[in-house]
């Protein structure tokens, strides 16, 4: 919403990582508007359900279109929007629970299709909105409200998962760095195909990992985030896998395959094989 709306009663907790992601997305969209000359109403933000999904209501300034739908289904909704109007810039915003748990079944198909959208995932390693249950990216053994004796499952490695599923653009970002993050989102939007910008976006209330991510050198805590080195070749999938083996959270573009057609391009290429008929002609085939 562009102005304060007293009726809208949701607020992020102070310090929530999602503030930084919102800022980064705003910057990326403004930059896109300025560089392409396209209006904000050419962008559609499809939001998942969670604290993170509320981002679609909390965007400030000129407003894009938005859909705040149902839990886990932002990807197939985005599929419909994009394939209905390929000229739109479609962005998904969702949490780790929404995207990787209930909605996990949709990542593989969009990767295979190379659907031309950009998904910005706010990973806080927890279900924030439902108050602190474990999520796929919660560390094994962690005690949460839903894992009183510690989480039994191993932690999912989303970046590895995306690479394995064949997502054509994979980036990793941190909510504490809105400007660099906005650049990653901007590249993701520019990428012709399925791009995921996976963001570490700590939940200050249920799983505060800020210090762990940023480090606190005064107290001897090394940051777990580190910048993807300049000489990393993102078009090299093996190099991308190797990067993810090095521990911690690499920040930057992990993988970028620019050689694949996006789904809308593939569809367009089929048109010449088809011989579209009018409804009258179609009906004629049944006439006798």
């Amino acid at each position: 919403m562009s102005k304060k709306n007293p009726e809208y009663d949701f607020k992020w907790c102070p310090g929530c990582g999602d503030f930084g992601v919102r800022r980064a997305l705003e910057l990326a969209m403004i930059d896109r508007m300025e560089t392409t000359g396209e209006s904000m109403h050419n962008s559609v933000v499809v939001a998942g359900i969670g604290c993170s999904g509320n981002l679609v209501h909390l965007l400030e300034g000129e407003q894009p279109y938005g859909i705040h739908g149902i839990h886990g289904r932002s990807l197939p909704i985005a599929l419909g929007v994009k394939m209905a109007r390929p000229s739109l810039n479609v962005v998904v915003v969702a949490g780790d629970g929404d995207f990787l748990s209930i909605g996990g079944e949709h990542i593989g198909p969009q990767a295979a299709r190379n659907l031309d959208i950009c998904a910005v995932i706010m990973d806080n390693g927890v279900y924030g909105l439902t108050k602190g249950q474990s999520s796929p990216t919660t560390l094994q053994g962690t005690v949460t409200s839903s894992t009183p004796f510690g989480k039994l499952e191993t932690k999912t490695n989303p970046l590895e998962l995306y690479l394995t599923l064949g997502v054509s653009f994979v980036a990793s970002g941190f909510s504490g760095q809105p400007r660099p993050l906005s650049q990653l989102i901007r590249q993701g939007m520019e990428h012709r195909g399925f791009s995921i910008v996976h963001v570490q976006s700590p939940c200050t209330t249920y799983n505060d990992t800020f210090i762990e991510l940023k480090g606190d050198l005064k107290n001897g805590i090394q940051p777990s985030i580190w910048d993807v080195p300049e000489d990393h070749d993102p078009s090299d999938k093996n190099a991308a896998h190797n990067l993810l083996q090095q521990g911690g959270v690499p920040i930057g573009v992990i993988y970028n395959d620019t050689n694949r057609l996006s789904l809308d391009q593939s569809v367009e290429n089929t048109w010449e094989k088809a011989q579209p008929k009018t409804v009258g002609q179609l009906m004629g085939a049944f006439e006798f």
Partner: protein, 571 residues
Amino acid sequence: MQMRDFVVRFAGEGGQGVVTSAEGLAQSSTQVGYHALTFATFPSQILGGPTWTQARISVDPVLSAGDDVNVLVAFNREAYDTHCEDVLEDGVVIYNSAEFELEGDGRSFGLPFEELAKSTGNNRAANMVIIGALAHLISMPQEHLVSFVEQRFNRGRAEDAEVIRSNIAAMTLGRNHLAESGFSLGELAPPEKPEYQQLMIKGNEAVSIGAMAAGLDFYVGYPISPATPILLYMERNLVGKDRLAYQVSSEIESITAILGAGYAGKRSMTATSGPGVSLMSEGLGLAWIAEIPLVVVNVQRGGPATGLPTKTEQSDLFSCMYPAHGDVKIPIIAAGTVEECFFGAVKAVEWAERYQGPVILLSEMALAERSQNIPKPDLSKIKQAKRKTYTGSNGYLRYAGNELSPMPIPGTPGSYVANGSEHDDMGDTTHLGERHVQMTERRFGKIKLLEEDDFERDQPEHSIAVVTWGGSKGPSFEAYNKLKESGVPVGWYYTMYLNPLPPKMLKELKQKDLVIVPELNYQGQFSSILRSLGVKAESITQYTGLPFKARTLVEKITEMTNVCLKETVGV
């Protein structure tokens, strides 16, 4: 006496030509001016398996698959054993003598279908041998069949002439062989060829073309019997700029993708069957609350869960009218004939755009796979479905007020958030009680926009009426006509608009002492909905996986009518 109508059942294994023979007979008959309808069952296995298809050929428009079988064509022993009891006493059995032999029972005749076909040099003409034999039974002139073969196989290829020759030869062989038997059913009255142009088409095809006639832009789907043919038809034909037909990876993707497309301004649709509808539940609720036009076609099959995938049933009315949690009641159109599959699809697409929300079109297995001759729809009378769209500037309040409001389309000014949470007029989430009241009333109020005036009505003066829905229309109307002839005091009302019902029809039904509802489910789903609307409705139910027979309905309706009349007189 001349017959006006006869029924042939073809039974055998999948792959033996059961379906092609029935369709061939139906097609050749309609071509010469008869009316025809086929009823197909499916084997539950991919290759082989027992299957049967019935064709009813008539001088008059055909309403149902027919109660009795005049001729059984048995491709193997098992088929004969299963179906011989359904053959009328004065009926005939033609069986494949290459497979088995029957004792001379005075009504069975063996023909080596394939051998005869081979002798013409065309191994694939076995069904023509059969059609020739049937033509003899009903004294159908040879020239009718010849002209059918000529039309059917004239494809502009070099081998056409040979194919036509061998098919005619096969037909003649079948005819001559049966003539030796001395069997005959009499003479089918000459056709009264309709003046109007016609199509020979199946329910699923009619749905597909109807939706396209209304201007469908966007279709996605996931394969499921018996709805798959709609997906395949769309993938071949809804192609090109600004249109798309596409297979997605689940019904959850189907419903949410058409929702995204509907939001983006496209007339969008998916088709599925019961299990798919169950998966679409949450998405349908989202379309309802966020006010997004879309159409779901449910080609019903039997049973809950995986149920009876190859049988027909009308048991999804509840799950389609009330598919989702919360206060939701989805507009429903139920096709009752192949022709209504076409016009129901036109209406469904138009309704969705008109009231900006989800619409479900109900079809069923027996309609989907039924071939029937229908009058060719007049495309010049069909208007493309239109949505009220917003054309103003930014700062629009999409959900303001209690009535339908123009919908902004992404790519043009008027950005808003289509919200699946309860929302205020700009689409932001809210928890205020008065907002939920306003928005709930707004959503239900829009249903009024869908009220239609037209419905079928006959003998409205009676205090008892027959009111069926969907594919039970045919056998019910056939039964009704017989009841009317014999003076049973019942009226007839029918509509394909199940929600909302045409208000005038509902008003009249409320005044009846009894409304009798034939329907193919255990619970009496439509009568129970009618009762909730204040109609004294009672069902005649059947849940065998097969359609009603008109005879059963005549008996039951007579019985219920008598009981009701006694009761009302007694008071």
